[in-house]
Amino acid sequence: MLQIIKIEWLKVKTYRTFWILLGLAVVIIPASNLLVQDITSRIPKQVQTLLGTSAYDFPLVWQSVANVNSYTSAIFALLLLTLVTNEFTFKTHRQNVIDGWDRKEFVYSKLFWVLALSVTAFVVSVLTALFFGFFYGTSAFNMEGFYYLGYYFLQVLLSLCLALLTGILVKRAGLAIVLYLGYVMIFEQLLVVTLKRFWGSVGGLLPLQTADELLPFPLIGKMLPGVQQYDNMVYLIALLGYIAVALWLIFRRLLKADI
Protein backbone atom coordinates (compact mmCIF):
# COMPACT_ATOMS: atom_id res chain seq x y z
CA MET A 1 0.00 0.00 0.00
CA LEU A 2 2.89 2.38 0.79
CA GLN A 3 4.21 1.80 -2.73
CA ILE A 4 0.79 2.74 -4.16
CA ILE A 5 0.65 5.93 -2.05
CA LYS A 6 4.15 6.88 -3.20
CA ILE A 7 3.12 6.48 -6.85
CA GLU A 8 -0.09 8.48 -6.35
CA TRP A 9 1.97 11.20 -4.70
CA LEU A 10 4.26 11.30 -7.78
CA LYS A 11 1.17 11.75 -9.96
CA VAL A 12 -0.11 14.84 -8.08
CA LYS A 13 3.04 16.37 -6.63
CA THR A 14 3.41 18.87 -9.47
CA TYR A 15 -0.19 18.85 -10.72
CA ARG A 16 -1.41 22.43 -10.28
CA THR A 17 -5.12 21.71 -10.78
CA PHE A 18 -4.98 19.24 -7.89
CA TRP A 19 -3.45 21.74 -5.49
CA ILE A 20 -5.83 24.54 -6.51
CA LEU A 21 -8.92 22.36 -6.03
CA LEU A 22 -7.58 20.94 -2.76
CA GLY A 23 -6.80 24.45 -1.50
CA LEU A 24 -10.30 25.57 -2.44
CA ALA A 25 -11.95 22.56 -0.75
CA VAL A 26 -9.94 23.14 2.44
CA VAL A 27 -10.28 26.94 2.60
CA ILE A 28 -14.01 26.83 1.98
CA ILE A 29 -14.52 24.92 5.26
CA PRO A 30 -13.54 27.75 7.64
CA ALA A 31 -14.71 30.38 5.14
CA SER A 32 -18.29 29.11 4.92
CA ASN A 33 -18.43 28.73 8.70
CA LEU A 34 -17.22 32.30 9.08
CA LEU A 35 -20.11 33.38 6.87
CA VAL A 36 -22.68 31.36 8.83
CA GLN A 37 -21.22 32.54 12.13
CA ASP A 38 -21.55 36.12 10.95
CA ILE A 39 -25.22 35.56 10.01
CA THR A 40 -26.11 33.75 13.26
CA SER A 41 -24.38 36.46 15.33
CA ARG A 42 -26.87 38.97 13.89
CA ILE A 43 -29.84 37.09 15.33
CA PRO A 44 -31.47 39.57 17.75
CA LYS A 45 -30.58 39.20 21.43
CA GLN A 46 -34.15 38.25 22.39
CA VAL A 47 -34.22 35.34 19.92
CA GLN A 48 -30.81 34.18 21.10
CA THR A 49 -32.02 34.11 24.67
CA LEU A 50 -35.04 32.11 23.50
CA LEU A 51 -32.78 29.61 21.73
CA GLY A 52 -30.65 29.39 24.84
CA THR A 53 -27.32 28.96 23.10
CA SER A 54 -25.39 30.11 20.05
CA ALA A 55 -24.62 27.82 17.09
CA TYR A 56 -20.88 28.23 17.62
CA ASP A 57 -20.88 27.61 21.36
CA PHE A 58 -19.56 24.30 22.65
CA PRO A 59 -21.02 21.71 22.30
CA LEU A 60 -23.29 22.89 19.43
CA VAL A 61 -20.27 23.97 17.38
CA TRP A 62 -19.53 20.34 16.37
CA GLN A 63 -22.98 19.97 14.85
CA SER A 64 -22.98 23.43 13.26
CA VAL A 65 -19.62 22.95 11.57
CA ALA A 66 -20.60 19.43 10.43
CA ASN A 67 -23.85 20.74 8.96
CA VAL A 68 -22.29 23.73 7.17
CA ASN A 69 -19.46 21.62 5.75
CA SER A 70 -21.84 19.00 4.40
CA TYR A 71 -22.91 21.56 1.78
CA THR A 72 -19.40 22.00 0.39
CA SER A 73 -18.18 18.39 0.27
CA ALA A 74 -18.97 18.30 -3.47
CA ILE A 75 -15.69 20.21 -4.01
CA PHE A 76 -13.76 17.21 -2.71
CA ALA A 77 -15.84 15.08 -5.10
CA LEU A 78 -14.87 17.34 -8.02
CA LEU A 79 -11.22 16.91 -7.10
CA LEU A 80 -11.61 13.13 -7.02
CA LEU A 81 -13.54 13.12 -10.31
CA THR A 82 -10.68 15.07 -11.90
CA LEU A 83 -8.07 12.58 -10.67
CA VAL A 84 -10.09 9.54 -11.76
CA THR A 85 -11.22 10.76 -15.17
CA ASN A 86 -7.65 11.93 -15.92
CA GLU A 87 -6.60 8.28 -15.80
CA PHE A 88 -9.22 7.37 -18.39
CA THR A 89 -8.53 10.41 -20.58
CA PHE A 90 -4.79 9.72 -20.67
CA LYS A 91 -5.42 5.92 -20.76
CA THR A 92 -2.94 5.67 -17.90
CA HIS A 93 -5.33 3.31 -16.07
CA ARG A 94 -4.42 0.81 -18.82
CA GLN A 95 -0.75 1.66 -18.72
CA ASN A 96 -0.59 1.23 -14.93
CA VAL A 97 -1.95 -2.31 -15.37
CA ILE A 98 0.26 -3.04 -18.40
CA ASP A 99 3.31 -1.88 -16.43
CA GLY A 100 2.59 -4.26 -13.60
CA TRP A 101 -0.19 -3.14 -11.30
CA ASP A 102 -2.81 -5.69 -10.48
CA ARG A 103 -6.24 -4.27 -11.36
CA LYS A 104 -6.99 -4.43 -7.63
CA GLU A 105 -4.01 -2.16 -6.98
CA PHE A 106 -5.45 0.40 -9.38
CA VAL A 107 -8.72 0.36 -7.40
CA TYR A 108 -6.77 0.71 -4.14
CA SER A 109 -4.91 3.71 -5.60
CA LYS A 110 -8.21 5.50 -6.14
CA LEU A 111 -9.68 4.34 -2.83
CA PHE A 112 -6.61 5.84 -1.21
CA TRP A 113 -7.78 9.24 -2.47
CA VAL A 114 -11.32 8.59 -1.23
CA LEU A 115 -9.94 7.94 2.24
CA ALA A 116 -7.22 10.61 2.17
CA LEU A 117 -9.64 13.35 1.09
CA SER A 118 -12.26 12.23 3.63
CA VAL A 119 -9.67 12.33 6.41
CA THR A 120 -8.47 15.76 5.22
CA ALA A 121 -12.05 17.09 5.28
CA PHE A 122 -12.55 15.60 8.75
CA VAL A 123 -9.31 16.97 10.23
CA VAL A 124 -9.86 20.46 8.79
CA SER A 125 -13.40 20.38 10.17
CA VAL A 126 -12.23 19.39 13.65
CA LEU A 127 -9.67 22.23 13.63
CA THR A 128 -12.31 24.66 12.33
CA ALA A 129 -14.80 23.62 15.04
CA LEU A 130 -12.13 24.01 17.74
CA PHE A 131 -11.17 27.44 16.44
CA PHE A 132 -14.77 28.67 16.20
CA GLY A 133 -15.69 27.13 19.56
CA PHE A 134 -12.82 28.83 21.35
CA PHE A 135 -12.80 32.08 19.41
CA TYR A 136 -16.49 32.83 18.91
CA GLY A 137 -18.16 30.60 21.51
CA THR A 138 -18.95 31.59 25.03
CA SER A 139 -19.16 28.13 26.62
CA ALA A 140 -16.41 25.91 27.94
CA PHE A 141 -14.91 23.12 25.81
CA ASN A 142 -17.23 20.13 25.59
CA MET A 143 -16.98 17.01 23.41
CA GLU A 144 -20.70 16.23 23.53
CA GLY A 145 -22.04 16.06 19.99
CA PHE A 146 -18.59 15.44 18.47
CA TYR A 147 -20.15 12.42 16.74
CA TYR A 148 -21.76 14.87 14.27
CA LEU A 149 -18.31 15.32 12.76
CA GLY A 150 -18.19 11.52 12.50
CA TYR A 151 -21.42 11.67 10.46
CA TYR A 152 -19.83 14.38 8.35
CA PHE A 153 -16.81 12.14 7.72
CA LEU A 154 -19.18 9.40 6.54
CA GLN A 155 -21.04 11.89 4.33
CA VAL A 156 -17.78 12.86 2.60
CA LEU A 157 -16.82 9.18 2.32
CA LEU A 158 -20.15 8.35 0.64
CA SER A 159 -19.97 11.42 -1.64
CA LEU A 160 -16.48 10.39 -2.76
CA CYS A 161 -17.44 6.73 -3.27
CA LEU A 162 -20.32 7.88 -5.50
CA ALA A 163 -17.98 10.26 -7.34
CA LEU A 164 -15.48 7.44 -7.88
CA LEU A 165 -18.22 5.17 -9.21
CA THR A 166 -19.45 7.95 -11.53
CA GLY A 167 -15.90 8.57 -12.79
CA ILE A 168 -15.28 4.89 -13.47
CA LEU A 169 -18.59 4.39 -15.27
CA VAL A 170 -18.65 7.64 -17.28
CA LYS A 171 -14.86 8.05 -17.84
CA ARG A 172 -15.13 11.48 -19.51
CA ALA A 173 -14.38 14.38 -17.16
CA GLY A 174 -16.96 16.92 -18.32
CA LEU A 175 -19.86 14.50 -18.52
CA ALA A 176 -18.98 12.84 -15.21
CA ILE A 177 -18.87 16.21 -13.40
CA VAL A 178 -22.18 17.37 -14.90
CA LEU A 179 -23.91 14.07 -14.07
CA TYR A 180 -22.52 13.97 -10.54
CA LEU A 181 -23.38 17.57 -9.67
CA GLY A 182 -26.76 17.22 -11.42
CA TYR A 183 -27.60 14.24 -9.25
CA VAL A 184 -26.25 15.65 -5.99
CA MET A 185 -27.62 19.17 -6.31
CA ILE A 186 -30.87 18.70 -8.19
CA PHE A 187 -32.02 15.21 -9.07
CA GLU A 188 -31.73 13.64 -5.63
CA GLN A 189 -33.28 16.71 -3.97
CA LEU A 190 -36.25 16.47 -6.36
CA LEU A 191 -36.63 12.78 -5.61
CA VAL A 192 -36.42 13.42 -1.86
CA VAL A 193 -39.09 16.14 -1.99
CA THR A 194 -41.38 14.00 -4.16
CA LEU A 195 -40.96 10.86 -2.07
CA LYS A 196 -41.44 12.76 1.18
CA ARG A 197 -44.62 14.34 -0.15
CA PHE A 198 -46.23 11.11 -1.31
CA TRP A 199 -44.59 8.35 0.73
CA GLY A 200 -43.31 10.16 3.82
CA SER A 201 -40.04 9.50 5.61
CA VAL A 202 -38.78 6.95 3.06
CA GLY A 203 -37.60 9.95 1.02
CA GLY A 204 -34.90 10.45 3.64
CA LEU A 205 -33.31 7.13 2.71
CA LEU A 206 -31.90 8.19 -0.66
CA PRO A 207 -28.08 7.97 -0.68
CA LEU A 208 -26.86 11.48 0.17
CA GLN A 209 -30.09 12.38 1.97
CA THR A 210 -29.25 9.80 4.67
CA ALA A 211 -26.33 12.01 5.69
CA ASP A 212 -28.43 15.18 5.46
CA GLU A 213 -30.94 13.60 7.85
CA LEU A 214 -28.11 12.87 10.27
CA LEU A 215 -26.79 16.44 10.04
CA PRO A 216 -29.59 18.96 10.75
CA PHE A 217 -28.58 22.53 11.61
CA PRO A 218 -28.90 22.79 15.39
CA LEU A 219 -30.87 25.98 15.98
CA ILE A 220 -33.18 25.81 12.99
CA GLY A 221 -33.97 22.21 13.87
CA LYS A 222 -35.45 23.50 17.11
CA MET A 223 -37.63 26.07 15.39
CA LEU A 224 -39.10 23.76 12.73
CA PRO A 225 -42.27 21.85 13.49
CA GLY A 226 -41.58 18.17 14.25
CA VAL A 227 -40.83 16.27 11.02
CA GLN A 228 -41.54 12.56 11.01
CA GLN A 229 -38.14 10.84 10.94
CA TYR A 230 -36.60 7.40 11.39
CA ASP A 231 -34.19 6.72 14.21
CA ASN A 232 -30.61 7.93 13.44
CA MET A 233 -29.48 4.31 13.42
CA VAL A 234 -31.66 3.63 10.34
CA TYR A 235 -30.01 6.47 8.38
CA LEU A 236 -26.58 5.39 9.56
CA ILE A 237 -27.10 1.79 8.43
CA ALA A 238 -28.51 2.98 5.09
CA LEU A 239 -25.50 5.30 4.60
CA LEU A 240 -23.01 2.52 5.35
CA GLY A 241 -25.01 0.23 3.08
CA TYR A 242 -24.69 2.70 0.18
CA ILE A 243 -20.92 2.92 0.73
CA ALA A 244 -20.69 -0.88 0.65
CA VAL A 245 -22.77 -1.11 -2.56
CA ALA A 246 -20.71 1.63 -4.25
CA LEU A 247 -17.46 -0.16 -3.33
CA TRP A 248 -18.82 -3.47 -4.60
CA LEU A 249 -19.79 -1.89 -7.94
CA ILE A 250 -16.39 -0.14 -8.24
CA PHE A 251 -14.47 -3.39 -7.69
CA ARG A 252 -16.80 -5.38 -9.93
CA ARG A 253 -16.45 -2.92 -12.78
CA LEU A 254 -12.68 -2.55 -12.65
CA LEU A 255 -11.84 -6.18 -11.97
CA LYS A 256 -14.15 -7.72 -14.58
CA ALA A 257 -14.61 -5.31 -17.47
CA ASP A 258 -12.23 -4.71 -20.36
CA ILE A 259 -10.22 -1.57 -19.72
Binding site: T14, Y15, Q95
Partner: protein
Protein backbone atom coordinates in the same frame (compact mmCIF):
# COMPACT_ATOMS: atom_id res chain seq x y z
CA UNK B 1 10.20 -23.14 -21.77
CA UNK B 2 8.21 -20.74 -24.01
CA UNK B 3 8.15 -17.11 -22.86
CA UNK B 4 4.53 -16.86 -23.92
CA UNK B 5 2.23 -19.74 -24.71
CA UNK B 6 -1.29 -19.13 -26.01
CA UNK B 7 -3.92 -21.84 -25.98
CA UNK B 8 -7.12 -21.38 -27.99
CA UNK B 9 -7.60 -17.68 -27.22
CA UNK B 10 -10.94 -16.30 -28.46
CA UNK B 11 -12.41 -12.84 -28.05
CA UNK B 12 -15.61 -11.24 -29.32
CA UNK B 13 -16.60 -7.56 -29.45
CA UNK B 14 -20.37 -7.79 -29.78
CA UNK B 15 -20.98 -9.58 -33.06
CA UNK B 16 -17.36 -9.21 -34.22
CA UNK B 17 -15.12 -12.22 -33.62
CA UNK B 18 -11.82 -10.42 -32.97
CA UNK B 19 -9.85 -13.58 -32.19
CA UNK B 20 -10.76 -17.16 -32.83
CA UNK B 21 -8.97 -20.11 -31.20
CA UNK B 22 -5.47 -18.62 -31.50
CA UNK B 23 -2.64 -20.78 -30.20
CA UNK B 24 1.12 -20.41 -30.55
CA UNK B 25 4.32 -20.35 -28.51
CA UNK B 26 6.98 -17.65 -28.37
CA UNK B 27 10.40 -19.27 -27.83
CA UNK B 28 12.96 -17.52 -25.63
CA UNK B 29 15.46 -15.31 -27.43
CA UNK B 30 13.28 -14.94 -30.52
CA UNK B 31 12.14 -11.79 -32.24
CA UNK B 32 8.57 -12.82 -32.75
CA UNK B 33 6.55 -10.83 -35.26
CA UNK B 34 2.78 -10.84 -35.10
CA UNK B 35 1.66 -9.92 -38.58
CA UNK B 36 -1.67 -9.13 -40.04
CA UNK B 37 -3.61 -6.45 -41.85
CA UNK B 38 -5.37 -3.70 -39.87
CA UNK B 39 -8.18 -5.19 -37.80
CA UNK B 40 -6.73 -8.71 -37.84
CA UNK B 41 -6.59 -8.90 -34.02
CA UNK B 42 -2.91 -8.13 -33.29
CA UNK B 43 -3.53 -5.45 -30.65
CA UNK B 44 -6.45 -7.42 -29.16
CA UNK B 45 -4.12 -10.38 -28.71
CA UNK B 46 -1.43 -8.29 -26.99
CA UNK B 47 -4.08 -6.55 -24.86
CA UNK B 48 -5.20 -9.94 -23.55
CA UNK B 49 -1.60 -10.88 -22.73
CA UNK B 50 -1.19 -7.59 -20.78
CA UNK B 51 -4.51 -7.96 -18.87
CA UNK B 52 -6.14 -4.94 -20.50
CA UNK B 53 -8.74 -7.25 -22.04
CA UNK B 54 -9.92 -10.62 -20.86
CA UNK B 55 -10.29 -13.52 -23.26
CA UNK B 56 -13.73 -15.06 -23.68
CA UNK B 57 -12.15 -18.48 -24.09
CA UNK B 58 -8.72 -20.04 -23.84
CA UNK B 59 -5.75 -19.37 -21.62
CA UNK B 60 -2.11 -18.37 -21.76
CA UNK B 61 1.04 -18.64 -19.69
CA UNK B 62 3.88 -16.18 -19.22
CA UNK B 63 7.29 -17.63 -18.35
CA UNK B 64 5.50 -21.00 -18.06
CA UNK B 65 3.38 -19.69 -15.17
CA UNK B 66 -0.17 -18.50 -14.70
CA UNK B 67 -0.10 -14.81 -15.82
CA UNK B 68 0.04 -12.20 -13.06
CA UNK B 69 1.00 -8.59 -12.38
CA UNK B 70 4.39 -9.75 -11.10
CA UNK B 71 5.31 -11.14 -14.53
CA UNK B 72 4.10 -8.00 -16.28
CA UNK B 73 6.53 -5.98 -14.17
CA UNK B 74 9.33 -7.88 -15.90
CA UNK B 75 8.07 -7.22 -19.41
CA UNK B 76 8.58 -3.91 -21.17
CA UNK B 77 5.41 -3.10 -23.07
CA UNK B 78 4.40 -0.50 -25.62
CA UNK B 79 0.78 -1.12 -26.51
CA UNK B 80 -1.03 0.83 -29.24
CA UNK B 81 -0.45 4.47 -28.16
CA UNK B 82 1.95 6.12 -25.69
CA UNK B 83 -0.07 6.58 -22.49
CA UNK B 84 1.38 9.12 -20.08
CA UNK B 85 0.26 11.87 -17.69
CA UNK B 86 0.09 14.92 -19.94
CA UNK B 87 0.97 17.41 -17.23
CA UNK B 88 4.06 15.51 -16.00
CA UNK B 89 7.50 15.70 -17.56
CA UNK B 90 9.09 12.70 -19.28
CA UNK B 91 11.28 12.14 -16.23
CA UNK B 92 8.39 12.22 -13.77
CA UNK B 93 6.31 9.94 -15.99
CA UNK B 94 9.15 7.44 -15.95
CA UNK B 95 9.34 7.77 -12.16
CA UNK B 96 5.71 6.60 -12.03
CA UNK B 97 6.54 3.68 -14.34
CA UNK B 98 9.63 2.77 -12.29
CA UNK B 99 7.49 2.83 -9.14
CA UNK B 100 4.91 0.46 -10.61
CA UNK B 101 7.55 -1.84 -12.09
CA UNK B 102 9.47 -1.70 -8.80
CA UNK B 103 12.67 -0.87 -10.69
CA UNK B 104 15.34 1.61 -9.72
CA UNK B 105 14.93 5.23 -10.82
CA UNK B 106 18.66 5.19 -11.55
CA UNK B 107 17.86 3.54 -14.90
CA UNK B 108 15.78 6.54 -16.08
CA UNK B 109 18.71 8.61 -17.50
CA UNK B 110 19.94 5.57 -19.49
CA UNK B 111 16.61 4.93 -21.23
CA UNK B 112 16.02 8.64 -21.87
CA UNK B 113 19.44 8.80 -23.53
CA UNK B 114 18.67 5.68 -25.60
CA UNK B 115 15.45 7.32 -26.79
CA UNK B 116 17.20 10.61 -27.52
CA UNK B 117 15.09 12.56 -25.03
CA UNK B 118 17.68 13.65 -22.47
CA UNK B 119 17.56 17.29 -23.58
CA UNK B 120 13.76 17.44 -23.22
CA UNK B 121 13.37 15.19 -20.18
CA UNK B 122 11.96 17.95 -17.99
CA UNK B 123 9.38 19.19 -20.53
CA UNK B 124 5.75 18.24 -19.97
CA UNK B 125 4.55 15.26 -22.03
CA UNK B 126 1.81 17.41 -23.60
CA UNK B 127 4.48 19.56 -25.28
CA UNK B 128 5.99 16.56 -27.09
CA UNK B 129 5.61 15.83 -30.80
CA UNK B 130 4.05 12.52 -31.89
CA UNK B 131 7.49 11.04 -32.55
CA UNK B 132 8.81 12.15 -29.15
CA UNK B 133 5.81 10.60 -27.43
CA UNK B 134 6.54 7.34 -29.21
CA UNK B 135 10.20 7.57 -28.19
CA UNK B 136 9.17 8.07 -24.57
CA UNK B 137 6.96 4.98 -24.81
CA UNK B 138 9.95 3.01 -26.10
CA UNK B 139 12.11 4.41 -23.26
CA UNK B 140 9.42 3.37 -20.79
CA UNK B 141 9.35 -0.17 -22.20
CA UNK B 142 13.13 -0.41 -21.84
CA UNK B 143 13.10 0.78 -18.21
CA UNK B 144 14.65 -1.74 -15.87
CA UNK B 145 16.26 -3.59 -18.80
CA UNK B 146 13.59 -6.31 -19.07
CA UNK B 147 14.37 -9.63 -20.75
CA UNK B 148 11.09 -9.60 -22.65
CA UNK B 149 9.61 -6.74 -24.67
CA UNK B 150 6.17 -6.43 -26.21
CA UNK B 151 6.16 -3.76 -28.90
CA UNK B 152 2.95 -2.94 -30.73
CA UNK B 153 3.79 -1.01 -33.90
CA UNK B 154 6.95 0.52 -32.38
CA UNK B 155 7.67 2.69 -35.42
CA UNK B 156 4.30 4.46 -35.32
CA UNK B 157 4.67 8.21 -35.74
CA UNK B 158 8.44 8.13 -36.20
CA UNK B 159 10.30 9.81 -39.04
CA UNK B 160 12.57 7.72 -41.32
CA UNK B 161 15.55 8.28 -39.04
CA UNK B 162 13.48 7.23 -36.03
CA UNK B 163 12.23 4.12 -37.82
CA UNK B 164 15.77 3.13 -38.67
CA UNK B 165 16.89 3.78 -35.07
CA UNK B 166 14.11 1.57 -33.70
CA UNK B 167 15.08 -1.17 -36.12
CA UNK B 168 18.72 -0.98 -35.01
CA UNK B 169 17.63 -0.92 -31.38
CA UNK B 170 15.45 -4.01 -31.82
CA UNK B 171 18.35 -5.81 -33.51
CA UNK B 172 20.72 -4.84 -30.70
CA UNK B 173 18.24 -6.01 -28.08
CA UNK B 174 17.79 -9.29 -29.94
CA UNK B 175 21.56 -9.75 -30.11
CA UNK B 176 21.69 -9.18 -26.35
CA UNK B 177 19.42 -12.22 -25.97
CA UNK B 178 16.13 -10.43 -25.28
CA UNK B 179 12.86 -11.91 -26.42
CA UNK B 180 10.86 -9.41 -28.46
CA UNK B 181 7.22 -9.83 -29.37
CA UNK B 182 6.41 -7.27 -32.03
CA UNK B 183 3.12 -6.59 -33.75
CA UNK B 184 3.42 -4.82 -37.04
CA UNK B 185 1.90 -4.34 -40.42
CA UNK B 186 5.18 -2.94 -41.74
CA UNK B 187 6.52 -6.07 -43.37
CA UNK B 188 9.78 -4.48 -44.27
CA UNK B 189 10.35 -3.93 -40.56
CA UNK B 190 9.50 -7.53 -39.74
CA UNK B 191 11.56 -8.92 -42.62
CA UNK B 192 14.62 -7.12 -41.33
CA UNK B 193 14.43 -8.14 -37.68
CA UNK B 194 12.10 -11.10 -36.97
CA UNK B 195 13.18 -14.69 -36.47
CA UNK B 196 9.66 -16.02 -35.97
CA UNK B 197 6.22 -14.92 -37.09
CA UNK B 198 2.55 -15.57 -36.48
CA UNK B 199 0.20 -14.41 -39.19
CA UNK B 200 -3.32 -13.38 -38.32
CA UNK B 201 -6.22 -12.66 -40.64
CA UNK B 202 -9.67 -11.66 -39.36
CA UNK B 203 -8.81 -13.02 -35.91
CA UNK B 204 -7.67 -16.42 -37.14
CA UNK B 205 -4.12 -17.67 -36.96
CA UNK B 206 -3.02 -18.63 -40.46
CA UNK B 207 0.48 -19.82 -39.66
CA UNK B 208 3.18 -19.50 -37.02
CA UNK B 209 6.80 -20.54 -36.61
CA UNK B 210 10.29 -19.57 -37.83
CA UNK B 211 10.09 -16.95 -40.60
CA UNK B 212 11.59 -19.08 -43.36
CA UNK B 213 9.52 -22.13 -42.52
CA UNK B 214 6.25 -20.19 -42.33
CA UNK B 215 6.70 -18.08 -45.42
CA UNK B 216 8.30 -20.05 -48.21
CA UNK B 217 9.94 -17.54 -50.41
CA UNK B 218 11.42 -19.40 -53.38
CA UNK B 219 14.24 -17.76 -55.25
CA UNK B 220 13.38 -16.71 -58.75
CA UNK B 221 15.31 -15.37 -61.71
CA UNK B 222 14.65 -12.12 -63.42
CA UNK B 223 15.66 -12.14 -67.11
CA UNK B 224 15.42 -9.88 -70.10
CA UNK B 225 16.52 -9.77 -73.72
CA UNK B 226 16.06 -7.68 -76.86
CA UNK B 227 13.17 -9.94 -77.85
CA UNK B 228 11.22 -10.96 -74.77
CA UNK B 229 8.60 -12.85 -76.83
CA UNK B 230 11.28 -15.18 -78.15
CA UNK B 231 12.87 -15.37 -74.69
CA UNK B 232 9.52 -16.38 -73.17
CA UNK B 233 9.10 -19.18 -75.71
CA UNK B 234 12.62 -20.44 -74.99
CA UNK B 235 12.35 -20.26 -71.19
CA UNK B 236 9.07 -22.19 -71.21
CA UNK B 237 10.91 -25.08 -72.82
CA UNK B 238 13.47 -25.25 -69.95
CA UNK B 239 13.21 -28.65 -68.19
CA UNK B 240 12.91 -27.03 -64.69
CA UNK B 241 10.42 -24.31 -65.73
CA UNK B 242 7.35 -23.79 -63.46
CA UNK B 243 5.94 -20.32 -63.90
CA UNK B 244 6.65 -17.04 -65.65
CA UNK B 245 5.35 -13.50 -65.27
CA UNK B 246 6.19 -10.15 -66.84
CA UNK B 247 7.24 -7.12 -64.77
CA UNK B 248 6.15 -3.55 -65.57
CA UNK B 249 9.81 -2.82 -66.36
CA UNK B 250 9.69 -5.21 -69.32
CA UNK B 251 11.50 -8.09 -67.65
CA UNK B 252 10.43 -11.69 -67.04
CA UNK B 253 10.30 -13.27 -63.59
CA UNK B 254 10.77 -17.02 -63.84
CA UNK B 255 10.25 -19.62 -61.13
CA UNK B 256 11.94 -23.00 -61.54
CA UNK B 257 11.12 -26.16 -59.63
CA UNK B 258 14.75 -26.45 -58.51
CA UNK B 259 17.66 -24.08 -58.09
CA UNK B 260 19.00 -23.11 -61.49
CA UNK B 261 22.56 -21.89 -61.93
CA UNK B 262 22.45 -18.44 -63.62
CA UNK B 263 25.53 -19.23 -65.72
CA UNK B 264 23.91 -22.48 -66.90
CA UNK B 265 20.70 -20.65 -67.81
CA UNK B 266 22.66 -17.99 -69.68
CA UNK B 267 24.48 -20.71 -71.62
CA UNK B 268 21.24 -22.59 -72.31
CA UNK B 269 19.55 -19.45 -73.68
CA UNK B 270 22.53 -18.63 -75.90
CA UNK B 271 22.41 -22.17 -77.33
CA UNK B 272 18.78 -21.42 -78.28
CA UNK B 273 19.89 -18.22 -80.02
CA UNK B 274 18.83 -15.75 -77.31
CA UNK B 275 21.31 -13.38 -75.72
CA UNK B 276 20.31 -12.15 -72.27
CA UNK B 277 20.59 -8.42 -71.53
CA UNK B 278 19.47 -8.87 -67.88
CA UNK B 279 19.94 -11.77 -65.46
CA UNK B 280 19.47 -11.54 -61.72
CA UNK B 281 18.67 -13.96 -58.90
CA UNK B 282 15.97 -12.51 -56.67
CA UNK B 283 13.96 -13.54 -53.67
CA UNK B 284 10.22 -13.08 -53.28
CA UNK B 285 9.67 -10.20 -50.84
CA UNK B 286 7.96 -10.91 -47.57
CA UNK B 287 5.30 -8.49 -48.68
CA UNK B 288 4.46 -10.55 -51.77
CA UNK B 289 4.48 -13.78 -49.75
CA UNK B 290 2.32 -12.17 -47.07
CA UNK B 291 -0.20 -10.82 -49.56
CA UNK B 292 -0.45 -14.23 -51.18
CA UNK B 293 -1.02 -15.83 -47.78
CA UNK B 294 -3.57 -13.37 -46.43
CA UNK B 295 -5.52 -13.11 -49.66
CA UNK B 296 -6.04 -16.84 -50.01
Amino acid sequence: MPILSLQNISKKYGPVQALSQVSFDVPPGSVFGILGPNGSGKTTLLSIVTDVLSADEGSFTLFDQHPSAKQRRNIGTLLETPNFYHYLSAYRNLQVVAGIKQKSEKDIPRVLELAGLTARQHSAFKTYSLGMKQRLAIASALLGDPDVLILDEPSNGLDPVGISEVRILVKQLAQAGKTIIMASHLLDEVEKVCTHVAILRKGKLLLSGPVNAVITRDDFLEVGSADNKALKAVIEKHPAFVQLSATPEGLLQVIFKEAVDPAGLNNWCSQQGIWLSHLQVRRKSLETAFLELTNN
